[in-house]
Amino acid sequence: MKNVIFEIKENFKLANGVYKMLLSGDASDITAPGQFVNVRIDGLYLRRPVSVCDRDGDLLTLIYKVVGSGTEAMSKMKKGEKLDLLTGLGNGYGTGVSGDAPLLLGGGVGVPPLYLLAKTLIEEGKKVSVILGFNKKDEIFYENEFKDLGCFVTVTTVDGSYGRKGFVTDALPDNYSYYYACGPLPMLKAVYKACKTGGQLSFEERMGCGFGACMGCSCKTVTGYKRICKDGPVLYKEEILWEK
């Protein structure tokens, strides 16, 4: 973990309610896909955890959905403004166990962390398939970015306004070696049920600190109590206990 002041290079609307922010600063503590940063916002007491979409040297990409006052304030920030981040939070996805043809499943703003994951897996020489699930056409983002990485991409929409109608679990391929998922809790549950290979799922929870001190985001797992922020957000399929 490191506390770093980043400079905003770009901040723009990517899809309905979804924004992309490109930041410049010391991103060296981001060492695995699936990690997150905790963003300080003027006038709000708690930081806002946002998953890392991409890291390239000193450049950090965040994609976030406007859901409340914090993300709304972020969406109005301009190029050149400074942003106070705690970086390098969370465990991130482990890529060593993926096999040669992993499947990535993202729902809504669960999609962004899969980008750096896909990039990493492809650099490791793996054949990556991605299923991106959205509610409707105007919420879709990053379909082409995943294609440009060399992924085989399927898009699903709940209302059928684009791509395949239904949920990500309605578009599962026959063969894949392993899966990685990030998205809302009902999606994670459905993926957990539908996918039979080993897998890793990234969870979301309201956090206090984001670095393991306050016990605000604890969950029960097969291997004991875990903090989503520090011991997660990524849990291995085998350790998950569904409580909610």
Binding site: M1, K2, N3, R40, L44, Y45, L46, R47, L86, E205, R206, M207, G208, C209, F211, G212, A213, C214, M215, G216, C217, S218, C219, K220, Y225, K230, E243
Partner: protein, 302 residues
């Protein structure tokens, strides 16, 4: 003796800054990012007899200049703390630590206190009779003079180290409860724990926190905490530890003018993990600004 040094129940502190229980774990997360030996000491996570998971999530909410939590005393239990956490802490922290103790009955308070009292690294026992987030015990013991005195008396009879009673602000007369603890043998008083509050999510019309209510902390409670320190200081002769909303070196000084011998910093650690380190670094400058040569000149230790 440095100009920032103070004394708490007969034990010297290099400075009065103490991360508050529940915001600093057992120290290890913070030891990864700075040398925690710069602290006066710290109060570790509220520890109970048995391991506790705590309350369901969400446990956290936000408010203007503060936050709410309903963690519910999640901790690995006193045996794990003694076998695992304290040995790990010893490697990175070379001062006495404050052991925060909680329980759901007097026997549990005594059990945990007795075990932690025997640990070399424990300097003080801070007895939490003020947690608003647990159903049995916790704040229930801290809201009447009789029960607060009963816990104090029982723990005091079982231990040798100084006992600091951490009190709840959710009472009519906090000074009377402090006095009852003093009369029962307490060596110090810590005020305040969190204030009971709640938030509602307008998208659902339901409370944000699964436990419905939670404890409010952060800068928004600072004036309430300062008032409590002032009232308790006037009512007792034993040292008072100020706690509640402290987030700057200036806040530390205010607390000490109000009568605190040492000052705990809570929620600030969660929004800025370097908060205590920065406060300690800022203290000499703020002391100079207000013409304070030695912190011990202003503190209310008697």
């Amino acid at each position: 003796m440095g100009k920032m040094s103070v004394s708490l129940c007969g034990i010297g502190l290099d400075n009065p800054v103490i991360p508050a229980s529940g915001t600093f774990g057992y120290g290890l997360e913070f030891a990864e990012i700075y040398d925690i030996n710069v602290l006066g000491t710290f109060s570790f996570k509220g520890t109970t007899k048995e391991p506790r998971f705590g309350n369901p999530t969400p446990r956290i909410a936000e408010c203007a200049s503060g936050m709410l939590n309903a963690v519910g005393l999640q901790n690995p239990g006193v045996h794990h703390v003694i076998e695992r956490e304290l040995p790990a802490l010893k490697k990175v922290f070379h001062k006495k630590v404050m052991a925060n103790v909680s329980g759901s009955c007097i026997e549990d308070y005594v059990y945990v206190s007795e075990l932690l009292d025997r640990e070399d690294q424990v300097g003080w026992l801070e007895i939490n009779i003020s947690c608003p987030n647990v159903k049995a015990g916790g704040m229930g013991f801290g809201t009447s003079c009789e029960s607060a005195a009963a816990v104090t008396k029982a723990v005091k009879a079982a231990v040798k180290k100084p006992v600091i009673m951490k009190l709840s602000p959710n009472v009519t007369d906090i000074a009377a409860i402090a006095k009852a603890c003093e009369d029962a043998g307490a060596d110090g008083i810590c005020v305040i724990n969190t204030l009971l509050g709640m938030r509602i999510d307008l998208r659902t019309g339901r409370p944000v926190i699964a436990n419905v209510t939670g404890g409010v902390s952060g800068p928004c409670v600072f004036p309430v905490a300062l008032r409590a320190v002032y009232q308790v200081r006037a009512a007792v002769k034993i040292p008072v530890v100020g706690c509640g909303g402290v987030s700057s070196a200036a806040d530390v000084l205010e607390m000490m003018y109000a009568g605190a011998s040492a000052v705990e910093v809570g929620a600030a650690n969660l929004t800025d993990p370097y908060a205590c380190k920065k406060i300690i670094e800022d203290l000499p400058g703020v002391m100079y600004k207000y013409g304070i040569k030695n912190l011990s000149d202003i503190n209310g230790s008697k």
